[in-house]
Amino acid sequence: MAEDQKPPRADVVDPDGQAPAEVDDGVVIETVDEPADEAGELLTPPPMPEDEAPVQAELTVEVAGEEDELDEPEIPSLVGQLPWQEGDGGGPVEIAFAGGKGGAGRSTLVANVGLFLSRLGRDVVLADLDPAGQNLHTFLGMDPILPTPGMRMRSALPPRVDRMPGMNLRLCRPHHALMGADDPLRQQALDVARASGADVIVLDLGVQPDPLALDTFLEADCGVVVTLPEPAAMERTYAFLRAALYRRLLDGDDEPAVVSRALLTADHVGQLDTPAELIDALAGVHPNAAQAIRARVLAFAPKILVNRCGNRADRDLAAGICSALRRRWNINAEALGGIDADDTALESLRRRRPLVVEYPGSALARDIERLTRRLMALVGTREVRP
């Protein structure tokens, strides 16, 4: 098992930060100081040796105590078999979590899916791009950035990248805790994450449908919207998806978008209600544009995940949302199912320890593992780009 856990890529930045080989100039690579709090014991690396393999092995032994039989047969078969390793040359795979409502469990999922991916042998970078405030470090048990007044003045300060001790996982975040919607620092952090040489980038985009979040969501290999089984969250989810769809259809400088915008401007009475009606109207005046818009609609394939389910109807909700989206907008949304409500999420957050490390045997950890494997399968095929 130790051999199989070895990081699969050679160009991983050294954990001690001395060889930031692939990272752009000026990027700060830091290791987290040994956490002084009680959360430290499991996450604190043993004295960091030159190569990572033994560390990972030790950590795995420690962590896997309760699920040895669960992981052991699967890890070796996954490593090295993933499609993106077989020379598709497209850079890292991006999995974006967005939308829904604040408090829907997005950050918990990003942190723990990232941890699971790293445990499955991937080189993972998490990017905290939530404009409402950074939180991912808390879910991982890492230290927050406490901006000094001086730091606040230096808007050109590059994003900070920290390695999680003992894991093949890095966290990339802008230095400023207070960020506006159009903050260039978020874009910088995204660029740094993309240039990090990781296998997989897991992005926390927050709930705001701002241009950066929408574009990143649309470009990701897999865009997941996390929502809750209650009306306010449903409304926000549809609002985010609508914003993303309209951005894809209408915001470009290309001909189909320009023609569509002209048509919609001329539609004073607001007759065109859905993408389908827009396409029907376009077909009369500009068949090529209609075709292009139709292709864009069909290519929009967001994934829907309902968190904190309490009953069967809740667990079925994701499928219901996708079926409604197909009927209303003709998009190919895909249901990722439901994750049951579980106190261990809050409990592990209070202890500032990652859930899958603190409660590896919990139902929630197993749900997250299932989700992670499903996501890996999804991004394995390029056609599912949202």
């Binding site: 009306p231 449903m234 549809y238 389908a276 009606e277 949302i321 079926s323 009927r327 003709n330």
Partner: protein, 204 residues
Amino acid sequence: MSAPINLYEELELDPGATEEDIRRAFKRLSRRFDPGGLVMYGLYRTPEALRLLARLKEAYNTLMDPEQRRRYDRSLFPKGHPSLRRADERVASRPPPAPRELPRDPLEAIGWPEDARLGGPTLTKVRSMAGIPLEEIAERTKISMFTLRCLESEDYGDLPAKVYLRGFLKQIARMLRLDPERLVRDYLHEYDAWVAEKARRKPW
């Protein structure tokens, strides 16, 4: 491009779906797309949601009527759909012989007087004329064999409560291409008379 497409897609079903599949799908989807439900909130306005429900209902009614469904299938897949052929084979492999097609007006075919009341004997006659065994009605309508027998022989004492009778009679009428309203009216008229008579004789 505008959404569904055909009645099977409307109910998210395969064209080989059984009546039970259709019933389940309709139940599930009308709950899912309830205008006041979670799924619709923030996506559909109420009138549009109601239109969606109406389309589901229409698809359900068409596909649950064997004759209408046959005609619809023929128009949808002139050469026969693979899964439809499979469904035909499934039906054909059942022990009882395939029922003869019902004539357009079964009452006329059995020579039932136009103004005579419809009742249990009518059902028996139409059924035997078309060669539909009671078992098939029981399977399609999910009404028990015992109740069906009592309905046909008009053993009012063994029938379930009146509220159930109405639904049962409608279902059977639809299967046998009788006028559901007329059957319910005539049958329950006799039934009510029997209840009143029983009460008169044994008021306690």
